[in-house]
């Protein structure tokens, strides 16, 4: 018996020993197949989608943001009651039942999208229903809180979160970031067992991009363009506002545009930022650079006289005319050639410069080449190769036979405004890595010096002359500020065949404000307007309105000089320098004023009306209370003290 027990014990011990050895073998020796099986059973991989970075304006206002959303899918094979499934899902999603039924009709399929980028609250309702066969993928939805604002520059993204246009496309890699994959243990029901909560809470993020755009100014520019588009029944309208010193883009608009939150519903032609991607013959706005080159090369001076052939100038078999017969001129100065926008005067200057020098100067000002702007699809423009026949040379001098984009034109004017340096225009101010808090600033980049500081200053004064006296840009004037700029009326080239579209024009104005210390360079244009087409009629007032808003928003102090009718200021037509001009106009103004010696009648006037009455009277006025004027000290008609103080009592 004892032997039997011992044998049984040994047998059992052997079996247990074998079992223990097998267990140890499985547990401790590496086995890839078993490891995979174990991982599949106990491990789960959770993908955390990266939040696309925000795009903000220069003041930190959001232009593009990402909101959590869910994409909903179904596994038709495991759906138990399809009828019930369709009813519940369509009710919650608010989509036609037939559409959902069609999506899950094929029971062999294991994956179909039911809806993409659904908001969190709707998803929560679906989750509560606990529907078998329904799954959720966490994603981020792009939101553009300003709808249309800056749409052609911002661009948009596709359903898979990839950038398709504009900044969203060009900076897709930075904005997108990288998805994070986390490997976790899971329980029998597939729930992840989390030890570290931050695994889920620390969402991976793309980089934030700050633009140089001022969204308030951008909005103003877009609404003004929209209004002009309507008033002049134009096909399109463009505007570029640059910081005169750095060429940072403060506003850029190409209308018609589209709603960024519904890009699929827009015409694809409206999605392009035509101020960057399209070029056209600029017209007279180009004359500025021909004259700048002539001054730079010392071929002409601002007061040199040119005979403008009384409106008909024959070059070979062709005759050059002024834009209007009434614009015909005789002997005028170079400054007046610019102010009156004389085609013949500019042609003569160009002929004297020669084709090689003219072409070289245009290339130097940035025409015919990309500027290196940080927006996609920048066009180069066309400048034909040498040699140029005389009539082509003349045509180019007044902006025909070559093309430029609105941005190129604005940037070339910025080089005149800032003292002769061509900068690279840019729209990205900085890129911030949210995870490391590292900020990469975009600094202004100088491309080259295009003219000397003296030439640039002379050109600024000559361009100020365009908005004064008999200049073509009178409507571009902004009360309180000196404005410099040039009108342009370009004929539209036929897209099929040779020649120009009859009645097709692009009226533009490019200028800067204030002309004595430019802060902004502004380009505005209306494409194919039906009501009026001259740049001086359709674009100059638009420039004035945008320029006025821009300088006042920035707190640029008004100049007393501009209060005077500049027609009486010698302006650029003499050799006086700017300080002399300012002195002249200031003295002139003081002499003209009728200074009151007695207190004016102000009774029953509002504060605004009082200010309108005394604003030129050098009176130190003190208001008390609110409402309308009840009495004043001194009373109306009484002599003012030597210190010219007045007290105004207001009553509701």
């Amino acid at each position: 018996m004892k032997n039997k027990i011992i044998s049984l014990f040994i047998g059992i011990a052997f079996l247990w020993g074998a079992l223990a050895l097998r267990a140890a073998y499985l547990q401790f020796l590496p086995n890839e197949k078993l490891n995979t099986l174990q991982a599949r059973q106990f491990q789960t991989v959770v993908t955390l989608p990266s939040r696309r970075g925000n795009i903000i304006d220069i003041n930190g206002k959001d232009l593009a943001m990402s909101s959590p959303a869910y994409s909903i899918y179904a596994d038709p094979k495991v759906i138990v009651n399809k009828k019930q499934f369709v009813k519940t899902v369509s009710q919650i999603l608010g989509e036609p039942a037939a559409m959902i039924a069609r999506k899950i009709s094929d029971s062999k399929k294991r994956f179909v999208w039911i809806d993409r980028l659904v908001n969190a609250s709707t998803t929560e309702k679906l989750k509560e229903q606990n529907i078998r066969g329904l799954g959720f993928v966490e994603e981020w939805r792009r939101i553009y809180p300003n709808d249309h604002l800056l749409s052609t520059s911002l661009g948009f993204i596709g359903k898979e979160g990839q950038g398709l246009e504009g900044i969203e496309l060009l900076y897709d890699k930075d904005l997108k970031g990288e998805n994070k994959k986390v490997s976790l243990r899971k329980d029998a029901r597939g729930r992840p067992l989390v030890q570290d909560g931050t695994v889920f809470t620390e969402t991976p993020q793309g980089k934030d991009i700050q633009l140089t755009i001022d969204s308030d100014l951008q909005y103003f520019v877009e609404t003004e363009l929209q209004q002009a588009l309507k008033n002049h029944q134009a096909e399109a309208a463009y505007a570029v506002v640059l910081d005169a010193k750095t060429s940072a883009i403060r506003a850029i608009a190409s209308l018609p545009d589209f709603d960024l939150n519904k890009p699929e519903k827009s015409n694809s032609g409206f999605r392009r930022n035509k101020t960057v991607t399209d070029t056209y013959e600029p017209g007279s706005t180009l004359k500025t650079f021909i004259l700048a080159e002539a001054l730079e090369k010392n071929i002409y001076k601002a007061n040199s006289k040119i005979f403008c052939e009384n409106g008909n100038f024959k070059i070979g078999k062709r005759v050059i005319h002024e834009a209007e017969k009434s614009h015909s001129q005789g002997l005028i100065t170079v400054s007046e050639v610019l102010a009156y926008s004389s085609n013949i005067g500019t042609s003569k200057i160009a002929l004297k410069l020669g084709d090689a020098a003219l072409r070289e100067s245009l290339l130097r000002f940035g025409f015919g080449q990309k500027s290196g702007l940080d927006l996609p699809g920048e066009a180069k423009g066309i400048i034909l190769g040498l040699p140029w026949a005389d009539h082509l040379l003349a045509n180019v001098s007044f902006g025909q036979g070559m093309t430029a984009s609105p941005l190129q034109m604005a940037n070339a004017y910025a080089s005149i405004a800032n003292g002769g340096i061509l900068n690279r225009p840019y729209i990205i101010q900085s890129i911030t890595d949210i995870e490391t808090n590292q900020k990469t600033e975009n600094k202004p980049t100088e491309i080259r010096r295009v003219v000397s500081e003296e030439t640039a200053q002379q050109m600024r004064m000559m361009l100020a002359g365009v908005t004064s006296g008999k200049g073509s840009g009178l409507l571009a004037r902004v009360p309180g500020y000196i404005v410099g700029g040039k009108t342009g009326t370009a004929q539209k080239v036929k897209t099929n065949g040779r020649g120009y579209i009859p009645g097709g024009y692009i009226g533009s104005f490019t200028g800067f404000i204030p002309a004595n210390d430019p802060q902004y360079v502004i380009y505005v244009a209306l494409d194919h307007p039906k009501k009026g087409y001259y740049g001086s009629q359709v674009a100059a007032p638009l420039f004035a309105s945008i320029a006025s808003y821009a300088v006042r928003k920035d707190g640029v102090a008004p100049e007393i000089l501009a209060e005077k009718d500049l027609s009486q200021v010698p302006s650029a037509q003499t050799n006086l320098n700017q300080k002399q001009i300012e002195k002249y106009s200031l003295d002139d103004l003081k002499n003209e004023k009728q200074i009151l010696t007695a207190a004016p009648e102000l009774k029953n006037l509002s504060v605004r009306e009082v200010l309108q009455k005394v604003h030129q009277q050098d009176i130190k006025i003190k208001f008390l209370g609110s409402g309308q004027v009840s009495k004043t000290w001194p009373e109306a008609g009484e002599a003012l003290n030597q210190d010219r103080q007045m007290k105004v009592f207001l009553k509701e």
């Binding site: 809180p145 300003n146 067992l193 909560g197 009360p479 003190k622």
Partner: protein, 114 residues
């Protein structure tokens, strides 16, 4: 005599104590494992709560961005406050020697007796 008695007791209890410690350790391990599991569910719940709160915050940020957009502000100003866009004619340029002071109380004006 007493010490011999305790010595014997301890000797007799030793096997039970060993088993007790082993069982207690095993129970502790199981308990800790269960506790870890329970804690991880709590953490999971908390992270879900956190995410929900973060989502709400994000929604609020979007709402704020929509509220401060210039278009919305202009519409409110025009529709609800009957305001109009400023025109150039409304701007008054004071000459450099003109000064304006606005006071609400008479006591702030020196020499009012004048």
């Amino acid at each position: 005599m007493n010490s011999d008695f305790y010595q014997d007791d301890i000797q007799r209890l030793k096997p039970f104590l060993s088993v007790f410690f082993i069982v207690a350790t095993l129970f502790s391990l199981v308990f800790l494992k269960m506790e870890e599991r329970r804690m991880s569910y709590v953490v999971l719940k908390q992270t879900r709560e956190y995410k929900k709160t973060a989502e709400i915050r994000k929604q609020k940020e979007i709402q704020l961005a929509k509220l401060v957009r210039p278009q919305f502000i202009e519409n409110i100003a025009k529709a609800k406050m009957t305001l109009k866009r400023a025109t150039a004619a409304q701007i008054i340029h004071l000459s450099p020697n003109t000064s304006v002071t606005y006071l609400k109380s008479e006591s702030l004006i020196p020499g009012l007796s004048n």
